[in-house]
Symmetry: C2
Subunit: 289 residues, 2 copies
DNA sequence: TTAACTTTGAAATTTAACTACAAAGCCGCA
DNA sequence: TGCGGCTTTGTAGTTAAATTTCAAAGTTAA
C-alpha cells in the first residue's frame, strides 16, 4: 500500500542523489522527528543547502513537493512505532523491557496476520466444524495452548480433549478415524513424540491440522499445515511469542467454527460467559471510580 | 505520548465546538484520508464554511494551525490501522474476521502496555525473585495461563507449581507463609473459589500478586494488584484477549525476575531451549525454500 | 583550457495560511 | 418587541512559506 518505512527508502535512494541533496537526506535521516515541524528554510539552513535543493530532494524521492514529503514522513514515522524484534539488555529498566516485550509481541502478531493464508484457515475451519471429535496434542509450552484450545472448543459444543502425555496421545490416536480431526501444536515442528503420534494418527485417515513453522517435519506430515514462521530467533522473542500466536490462531479457528455451526453459536460463547456469573462474587459496595 | 486516535478525539470534541466548526469536524471524520492532501480553501469549500473557521477548528483541537493539524491527522491515520475493538458480523469472510481478531488483540496489547505501572511490576518482580516458593492459581480460561506461567518460572529455577483445583489450592495455600508468593489470575476478579483461596493465603502472610481487572474483590485483596482493564465488553474480544494479555504480563514478570536473579539466567532460558533439541527430530532432506 | 553540461543557489513569483475587523446572529432584559 | 451586549461567522487584506526562474559556479571531456 504505502511506504511502511520511508526512512529506509531514503537511505536506499541516498546514493542516487546529488551531493547537496545527500546533505538533506542525511539531516532527515538523523532528525526525522524534527523535520516534520520544520519549514523549508529551516531545513535548508540545517542541511546547509538552499531551499530549491530541498524541494529537488523531495521531488527526487517522488513527492509532489516539500509539504507532501513532510506528510509522508509524518505517516511513516507514526506507523513505524518500531514493532521490531527486540534484544534485551541487562541494564534495561522494567519500563524499557516491558515496552520491548509488548512491541515485539505486536510485531509478531502483525507478521503472522499477514502470513496466514485464508484458504488454509477456511480448510481447517471446515474440517473442525465437520469433525466428529477433535483432539489437541502438544508438549511443553504448547501443552497449555492445547488445554486452552480444548476449553474454547468445548464452549462451541465440539467434542474434544487435549493430551500432553505421549502415551495418552498414542492410545487416543488409534481410536480415531477419518471422521475425526487432531490439531498438533508445536513451536519447533520437530518434537519426536508429537511426530510419532501424528504418524500413528495418519494411518487411521484422521485429518491432521498442524500449527508449526513451515518446512518442518510436522508441517510436511500434516494434512492442513498452518504455518507460523517467526522472524529469526532473536533473544527470547520466539520463545515467548509463539505460544501467544498459537492461541490467537486458535481463536480465529474457533470463531470460524462458531460461525459455520450457525450464528447462534457465536452468541452461545457469550451466554456461557453469563452462566459463569454464578461462580462469581459481586462487590458489596459501589465501585470506586 | 501522542494522540493514539485523533479521529476519536475529534468525535469526542465535536460537541464542544461551534456549529460551523462542527461542519468541519463532520467532513474530516467522513473523509479523513482526503483531508490530508487538501488545502485550507478546499476543506473550507467542502465543509461549506469559511477559511478562518477551519483554522479556528484546528486551534480548538489544540493545534498550532491548519498545517500542524494535517500533520497530526496524517500521523494518526498511519498509526491508526484501526486496532479498534471489533464486532463480528456473521457475514464476515475468514479473511475479515482474521483481521478483526488480530487487530483487536493488538489494540488491547497497546492499551495494556500503556496502562501497566512499572512500579507495581517492579514490586511484583522483587517479590517473585525473593520468594522461597511461587504458586499460580486460576480457573477456567486462566488455568492454562497458570500452567504456562509455572512452566516459564521453572525455567528460571524458581520453585513453583500451578493449581486449578480449588481443593489443591486450599491445601497448598495453608502450607505457605510470608516467605512465599502466590499469583492469582482471573479475568473477572470475582471467582468465588479463587477469592476463598486468596483469603486463606492472606492469613498466613503470604504475598499475593493478582492479575485481574481493577476495582474487583480480587484486586482489593491482593498485596500487589496488577490491573488488566480491557475496553468494555464488546463481543468476544474480552473473552479472547485477556488470557493472552495475562500471558504477556507474565512474560514481563519472568524476564524481570530473570534479570534480577542474575544476568546469567537470561542466558539460561536460551540454554534450556538448546537442551530440548535432543527431543527433536531433524529433517533428513534440505528445507524446501 | 574551453565548450557543453550538470549542479547549485539568489532573487522573484506564486500560493496558501493566517489575521484583523466587521457583519450577522443570538440572548436577555426592559 | 426592540435594543444593548455578546458570540459566532465570514470578507478582505496581510504575511509567511513554498516554488519557479534564471544565472552563476562547478565538473567533465575533448
Amino acid at each position: 500500500m504505502n511506504s511502511v518505512n520511508l526512512l529506509k527508502l531514503i537511505a536506499e535512494a541516498r546514493e542516487d542523489l546529488r551531493k547537496s541533496e545527500q546533505k538533506v537526506a542525511d539531516f532527515v535521516l538523523a532528525n526525522p522527528n524534527d523535520v516534520i515541524h520544520m519549514r523549508i528554510v529551516d531545513l535548508a539552513a540545517e542541511a546547509e543547502v538552499s531551499e530549491p535543493t530541498v524541494v529537488r530532494f523531495c521531488r527526487a524521492l517522488g513527492h509532489e513537493g516539500f509539504q507532501d514529503f513532510k506528510l509522508m514522513l509524518a505517516q511513516g514515522l507514526a506507523s513505524n512505532t518500531n514493532f521490531e524484534q527486540f534484544s534485551l539488555d541487562s541494564k534495561d529498566t522494567v519500563s524499557e523491557f516491558k515496552e520491548k516485550i509488548f512491541d515485539s509481541m505486536i510485531g509478531n502478531l502483525l507478521n503472522i496476520k499477514e502470513q496466514l493464508n485464508p484458504e488454509t484457515l477456511e480448510e481447517a475451519i471446515d474440517a473442525l466444524a465437520n469433525a466428529r471429535r477433535v483432539e489437541f496434542y502438544g508438549f511443553g509450552a504448547s501443552a497449555p495452548v492445547c488445554t486452552d484450545a480444548a476449553h474454547k472448543f468445548h464452549r462451541l459444543k465440539v467434542s474434544c480433549t487435549s493430551y500432553s502425555d505421549p502415551h495418552m496421545q498414542a492410545i487416543s490416536a488409534v481410536s480415531l478415524d477419518d471422521r475425526d480431526v487432531i490439531v498438533a501444536i508445536s513451536q519447533t515442528g520437530r518434537t519426536k513424540d508429537l511426530l510419532h503420534t501424528v504418524k500413528l494418527v495418519k494411518e487411521t485417515g484422521t485429518t491432521v491440522i498442524a500449527l508449526c513453522p513451515s518446512g518442518t517435519p510436522l508441517a510436511e506430515l500434516a494434512s492442513i499445515p498452518i504455518h507460523i514462521d517467526l522472524e529469526e530467533d532473536k533473544d527470547l522473542s520466539t520463545l515467548m511469542s509463539s505460544r501467544v500466536l498459537h492461541l490467537v490462531v486458535i481463536d480465529v479457528l474457533a470463531v470460524g467454527v462458531a460461525m459455520k455451526l450457525g450464528p447462534g453459536l457465536v452468541d452461545h460463547l457469550k451466554t456461557i460467559k453469563r452462566s459463569l456469573r454464578s461462580l462469581r462474587q459481586n462487590d458489596k459496595r459501589p465501585p470506586v471510580s
